[in-house]
Each structure stands twice: as structure tokens, then as C-alpha cells.
């Protein structure tokens, strides 16, 4: 019987590269200047899934993502990196979800996917850095969890052994299947597998993308269709989705703007550095 792995992945704005270009004159972020990328640690999770697949042979890797229509890109990217397929969970019912409402929806979608042996996800997403969705999905499904995984050391038919990278150390733990594992950024990076796959899945589309596609010649027979699920496709109670399913409310958002100081400008010439060191010694900052 095939071993079924689900990878949870998220499309995120590239907050790591909020450089000068992405800052407006008033010090606020120009969000449209940020690229939408595959959340980095979710790629580490995908890599672990693909390694297990090549080790076990009889395994499938499905990627589940929740987001707007353009998040179908996550499924495409996963597939040309070697995933077998994926699902896009999308719809206005999910809008305004905090981590709990998100995990409720993801858990419902996973139940619909059938027998799952292992769920992998990144430790956290770079837009929120909360690290909450993985454990919350595990709780909703009644699965145990292993967070901060750096390497899956061993897998047999009923257990998984994982090396965890903690703040101040390392732990090797074994847990029963099915289980949810969140993968750390220190785990192996994800490399695309085959150029052929890249070509094959470049044109993978959701039905709604196909309908809005500018090309009239889209050949459905040769295009992989990415399944798109809305709220109606998963078993749920409406009050647990989106805003109403989110116990946390945002009271206020402030842009962070730091007040500039008047700085003394120096160069790397010897005289400047010596003067500075003398000053720091004289005012007891150092020494």
C-alpha cells in the first residue's frame, strides 16, 4: 500500500528582501515591490518529502496550499521539483483567517485527501513567523507532532525517527505514524529534480486559470489540471472559517519608522579611526 505524504506550503511575500527599493519615502513598505515566493522552510519540507519518496519508492507526495488564485504557482513549482500533485484551497470564505482558522481549513482539506501517513510543513512562514499552523493542524487531526526537524533519519511502516534542531541543542526522537513534522530552515535545501518535469508542469493550471487564460489554444489534454477546492468542497462548519473562525483580531497596525539621529561621518583613514577610538576611551564607552 502506497505511503502518502502531504506537504503544506504557503505563498508569501519575500519579506527577507525589504531593501531600500521596497521602502517608500515615508518609511513604509511598498508591498507591491515584494515578490511572491514559495515560503523557504516549506521548500525544506518538500525536499524531505521527495527524499522519502525516492527512498521508499511506493510513495506519493501531494502539496496542499491555501491562498488566492495565484497561489497555484506553489503547486506548479512543487510539481516540477518532483511532487506528484497538489491542491489549491481558495475562496473568499477563507479570507481574514488567522492561524487557527487556517489550520481548521487545512485539516478539513487533508481529511478529504484520504489516507495520510505523514504531513510535512515548514517550521514557519516568513510573513508571520508564528510557527503555529503546523502544530494546530496536527491538533485538529489528532496527530502527534515533531517540530524543528532537521533530518528524517529513519522511517518504517509504523514509526519515524527525526533529528530536531533546537535553540540550544539537538534531539533525536521517534514517533508513531501518522504524524505531522515541521521542518527547520537548517535542513537540506530543495533542488529541482528533472528538466523534463519543469517543462511538463510549466503549463499546469487550475480550471479558473484556464478560463481566464489569454491563449485560445490551451490544449486541455496536454495540460495538467491543478485541483482547486473551495469551502464547498471540504467538510466544515462555516463559523470556523475565515474571520469568524479567528479568535485573534488586529486592533491596530503601525508602520515602523525609526527617527534618524545626527551621525558623525568618518572614513577608513587612520586619523579618523584613531580619533574615534580615543573618544570612546575618553568617555568610558570602552576600556
Amino acid at each position: 500500500m502506497s505511503f502518502n505524504i502531504v506537504v503544506l506550503a504557503k505563498q508569501v511575500p519575500d519579506t527577507r528582501n525589504v531593501g531600500k527599493d521596497a521602502m517608500k519615502a515615508d518609511g513604509t513598505v511598498n508591498r507591491s515591490a515584494l515578490a511572491a515566493i514559495y515560503n523557504p522552510e516549506d521548500l525544506n519540507a518538500l525536499e524531505q518529502a521527495l527524499r522519502l519518496k525516492s527512498k521508499i519508492g511506493d510513495a506519493t507526495v501531494q502539496v496542499l496550499t491555501m491562498g488566492p488564485a495565484r497561489a497555484a504557482e506553489i503547486i506548479r513549482e512543487s510539481m516540477y521539483r518532483g511532487a506528484d500533485g497538489g491542491f489549491l484551497l481558495s475562496g473568499r470564505e477563507f479570507a481574514g483567517s488567522d492561524t487557527l482558522a487556517t489550520s481548521y481549513a487545512l485539516a478539513a482539506a487533508i481529511r478529504k485527501m484520504g489516507k495520510v501517513d505523514l504531513i510535512l510543513s515548514g517550521r514557519q512562514a516568513i510573513d508571520g513567523d508564528t510557527a503555529q499552523v503546523g502544530p494546530q493542524v496536527a491538533e485538529k487531526l489528532g496527530f502527534p507532532q515533531i517540530t524543528y526537524a532537521e533530518e528524517i533519519i529513519d522511517l518504517d511502516k509504523d514509526s519515524i525517527t527525526v533529528r530536531r534542531r533546537l535553540e540550544r541543542g539537538v534531539e533525536i526522537v521517534r514517533g508513531p505514524l501518522p504524524i505531522l513534522v515541521t521542518v527547520n530552515g537548517s535542513a537540506a535545501p530543495c533542488r529541482p529534480r528533472h528538466a523534463k518535469l519543469t517543462l511538463k508542469y510549466k503549463n499546469a493550471k487550475t480550471i479558473s486559470e484556464q478560463q481566464t487564460s489569454s491563449s485560445d489554444y490551451t490544449d486541455t489534454y496536454h495540460t495538467y489540471i491543478i485541483p482547486e477546492w473551495g469551502a464547498g468542497d471540504i467538510e466544515h462548519e462555516p463559523q470556523w472559517l475565515g474571520l469568524s473562525g479567528s479568535p485573534t483580531k488586529v486592533k491596530q497596525i503601525e508602520n515602523v519608522v525609526f527617527t534618524a539621529k545626527e551621525s558623525k561621518q568618518l572614513t577608513a583613514v587612520d586619523a579618523d579611526i584613531e580619533e574615534l577610538m580615543k573618544e570612546l576611551i575618553a568617555n568610558h564607552t570602552i576600556g
Binding site: G19, T147, G175
Partner: protein, 339 residues
């Protein structure tokens, strides 16, 4: 009932600093809310926990002492908190934003359907108006945290669900004794009333936890390297300067991601918050998430080859030059003039 509970992190029988910092904050909040401050300790051989925490102003200490509770695994600690919270109905629950707190917090919040805010940098009490529902809530916990790579600061509230849960990183809150003579009560919990045997499914095969060698948050002088330092090799210059000045070496997130320095050295919103006397930023561009973790430094020197690096705006001294050029000169002229 409706008190404030802090989950204590315990390693080798010692309560972690992050928990003591949360107790300090929790005591303040409890005074404001006129309620009790409670703490829960789950682990093994916890006889000295009371003497470690009572003087931070703990009114009730819940003890779950069982060999199987140490080292930490997710499910038993989750069940303990979930069932204790159902009984005690705390208004606020705080835990460290650590490998343990960030594993445990979301699990508990999911089971109780109570909102959790990760990595808060400030906790305050205030009111909230839900305009849509026409309701005003008073005495809520404001969970203030950076978001979006640190470019915004969001104030989050949990109007309807209890407890209001938050995690806070080590070093963000200050640790202060409340009263050396403060005496609270200890309540021993009967584990089987809270944790089913089926929860013990994760087996810890090996475990190496290092005592933190680093004491970044208490260092008076910090030399921090960014991506602009260029290599792990160039980082050695920073260690040389730190040795000479008696300081510690920190790193930006970009430098840690690039493998120039260990994660433990990361300064910023996703690392440590520091307030040293002297902060020397070397090749640090100054993303907001970094600046937020060091802006309270008394004096800031920026060494950067880019004269327009954002960090220069908050620096007292800006040295336009390369790390390879400037640091050896700093060492040389410090040695020459310090005698």
C-alpha cells in the same frame, strides 16, 4: 479563577530566564488586573521550583512531577495545560517563544480555540471596540508584535476567547524580583487526572542541550556582523575586535542564513533583543527587523562600504569603509591609546 498563568520552562531542574522574565511581566499585569499570578511547572524532581519562583510574586504554583514529563514532549504537556486551563479558566496564559513554547502554545490554543499571538514584544492592558458588533471590551491583553519582516507593528487582541495566549522571546522583557519574602502556595497535580497514558508516544532517544555559552543580552559591547561582512572567514575579524574590547559577537539574520554565524548570535525581532553600551554594526544593512532588536543601544557605530545603508540613519558614528580595512585599525588604535 481568571488569573494569569505562566508556563515554566525547566531544564535540569532550573527555571529558564525566559520564564522568570514572563513572571516579572505577569506580576505587573496581575497587579493591574487585580488577580493572582500563577505558574505551572511540569517535569521531574521539581522540589526547588518554588524557591526559584515565589519571590517573583507567584501566588500559586501548580506542580506536575513525573519522570515521564522530562524531557519535554508535546502531547503530555499539552493535555496538562488544556485540562488545567479548563479547570482554572485563566484570563491570560504566557509562555516563552522558545523551541518548547512555540511547540506547545499553538497546540494548546488549537485545543481550546483560544487565540495565540507569537513573539510579542510588548504586553499591555487596554480596551477594544468591535465597531461591527457594537461591543466594547475592557481590560483586554494587547499583544503587540512585529509582523511582515518587522516593517509593521500589530496590536492583536482576543476579545471573546480565554485564555488570551501569548509567547515572548527571551531577553525581550526584563527580569526583576518582586519581593524576596513573597510566599505563594504549591498545588500538586495528580498527573493521571490531567494526562492520559496514550499521550506518551514520542520517545526521546538522544538529547544534547548546551548551556548557553553566549550572554548577548547582558553584554555591554556587541560587535555585529551582517551579510556585508562577506564570509565566515571575515567574521573572525569581529571576534578579534570583541576579544580586544571585551565584547560579544552578534549577527544579523542575513549573516546567520548565509552560514557566517550560529543562530544563537542572531540579533533582531527573530533573534535576541539587546541594549548594550556600544553596538558596532559591521556590514549590516539595517533591515527594520534587525534595528528593532538593537535600537536601544546607547551608542551605535556603523561600518559599511555603502554610505547609504539604512542603518546609518540611526548610528552615532558612520564609518564608510570595509570591515577588512576598518576593524584592524580599530584594534591597532585601541591598543595604542588604552594604556
Amino acid at each position: 479563577m481568571n488569573n494569569i498563568i505562566v508556563y515554566l520552562e525547566i531544564e535540569d531542574g532550573i527555571v529558564g530566564d525566559v520564564s522568570l522574565e514572563l513572571l516579572t511581566k505577569g506580576r505587573q499585569l496581575a497587579n493591574q488586573q487585580k488577580c493572582k499570578l500563577e505558574a505551572v511547572a511540569a517535569g521531574y524532581q521539581l522540589d526547588t521550583i518554588g524557591t526559584q519562583v515565589f519571590h517573583y510574586g507567584v501566588d500559586t504554583l501548580y506542580l506536575a512531577d513525573d519522570k515521564r514529563l522530562y524531557p519535554y514532549t508535546t502531547l503530555p504537556h499539552t493535555s496538562l495545560l488544556v485540562n488545567l486551563f479548563k479547570e482554572e479558566k485563566p484570563q491570560i496564559a504566557l509562555m516563552g517563544a522558545t523551541s518548547i513554547g512555540r511547540d506547545l502554545g499553538p497546540r494548546v490554543s488549537s485545543a481550546l480555540f483560544s487565540g495565540l499571538t507569537a513573539d510579542c514584544t510588548s504586553l499591555e492592558i487596554g480596551s477594544y471596540e468591535d465597531k461591527k458588533a457594537g461591543k466594547v471590551y475592557s481590560d483586554l491583553l494587547y499583544q503587540i508584535r512585529p509582523a511582515f519582516g518587522g516593517n509593521i507593528v500589530a496590536t492583536i487582541v482576543n476579545p471573546d476567547c480565554r485564555p488570551q495566549m501569548a509567547t515572548v522571546r527571551e531577553g525581550v522583557m526584563k527580569k526583576e524580583l518582586c519581593d524576596p519574602a513573597y510566599k505563594g502556595k504549591t498545588k500538586k497535580l495528580n498527573l493521571s487526572d490531567y494526562v492520559p497514558d496514550e499521550d506518551f508516544v514520542i520517545e526521546v532517544i538522544e538529547r544534547h542541550i548546551e548551556k548557553s555559552k553566549l550572554n548577548l543580552k547582558n553584554s555591554h559591547i556587541i560587535i555585529t556582523g551582517g551579510y556585508g561582512v562577506g564570509s565566515a572567514d571575515n567574521f573572525k575579524l569581529l571576534y578579534d575586535l570583541a576579544n580586544v574590547l571585551g565584547g560579544e559577537v552578534g549577527a544579523s539574520r542575513a549573516a546567520v542564513d548565509a552560514g557566517f554565524a550560529e543562530h544563537e548570535r542572531q540579533i533582531g525581532q527573530t533573534g535576541v533583543t539587546v541594549r548594550p553600551k556600544l553596538y558596532i554594526a559591521c556590514g549590516v544593512s539595517g533591515q527594520i527587523q534587525h534595528i528593532a532588536g538593537m535600537q536601544e543601544s546607547a551608542m551605535i557605530i556603523s561600518i559599511n562600504s555603502d554610505p547609504h545603508a539604512p542603518i546609518n540613519a540611526i548610528a552615532d558614528y558612520v564609518i564608510t569603509g570595509t570591515v577588512e580595512d576598518v576593524i584592524p585599525k580599530m584594534i591597532k588604535y585601541y591598543k595604542k591609546n588604552s594604556k
